[in-house]
Symmetry: C2
Amino acid sequence: MMETISIDELLRRNQLSITDSRKKILELFQANNGAMAHSDIEKKTDEKFDRVTIYRTLQTFVEKGIIHTIPTPDNSVLYALCKDDCSSTGHHHDNHVHFVCDNCNVTYCLDSVVSPEVNLPGGFKPKVIDVVVTGICKNC
Amino acid sequence: MMETISIDELLRRNQLSITDSRKKILELFQANNGAMAHSDIEKKTDEKFDRVTIYRTLQTFVEKGIIHTIPTPDNSVLYALCKDDCSSTGHHHDNHVHFVCDNCNVTYCLDSVVSPEVNLPGGFKPKVIDVVVTGICKNC
DNA sequence: GTAACTGCAAAATATTTGCATCCTT
DNA sequence: AAGGATGCAAATATTTTGCAGTTAC
């Protein structure tokens, strides 16, 4: 089970000042429990924040390891909250399995599912394994 | 071992007319043996073809199942040749393992490596599993 | 000759940067 | 008060669309 810390505390721990946009965007990620695209965030904040602010906020969060990007089959840019085991210096994706629902289009971050071993041809040294599963999710 | 067919034959089999841009772009994919971004293709063709033509050619190839897109950790758009087991109606990615080299930045399509099984939580029904491995390749 | 393909222009979309102002600490 | 964050304007980059001219068959 995860330790739950407040949004303010999360920001503080990452040496980020506590601002409306950052709080709101983190709230969205927590409420959503799925992945979001930049455009999702714009819509869900009712265009309350400048597009540029959202870009910069997401970038900051990625740098701090608060969220991570998800590679998707259609190459859209998605973001999701990192769990505790995400380091804060850029080593994201580690051992994450992502699930994209064909039907409702929600992307899940299945942190409990550990990426499997992959047998690579000789000479290839793996560092990070990203797994993206597409299919039908548990709510569809 | 793969059956090798000529570029002309490949285009003919897909009901595509044989044009300079299509031939040149397919040649690049065959010569490269790795994945390429739109910008790579522009450079390697010496800007001989219009940017729009390259977009349309890539799109046509994806639709026909000649190439497929690759999800990458940094969400850039990469394309690589499909092998025989790629259907021609949009079911790409199946069982592909892709390898992105941190050092030389080349992306390999490791078709001989079959995607492993992934144990999903109850209710999730997988259809396609994309695996992207990042690390150091055999030539670095 | 006809349908398909390409190139150019331009529109639409997405992302980045600079700077003045405002807010957090 | 000082540094960081935001909003606006604008630059840059990416992708899509329309159409006229050209090419493959």
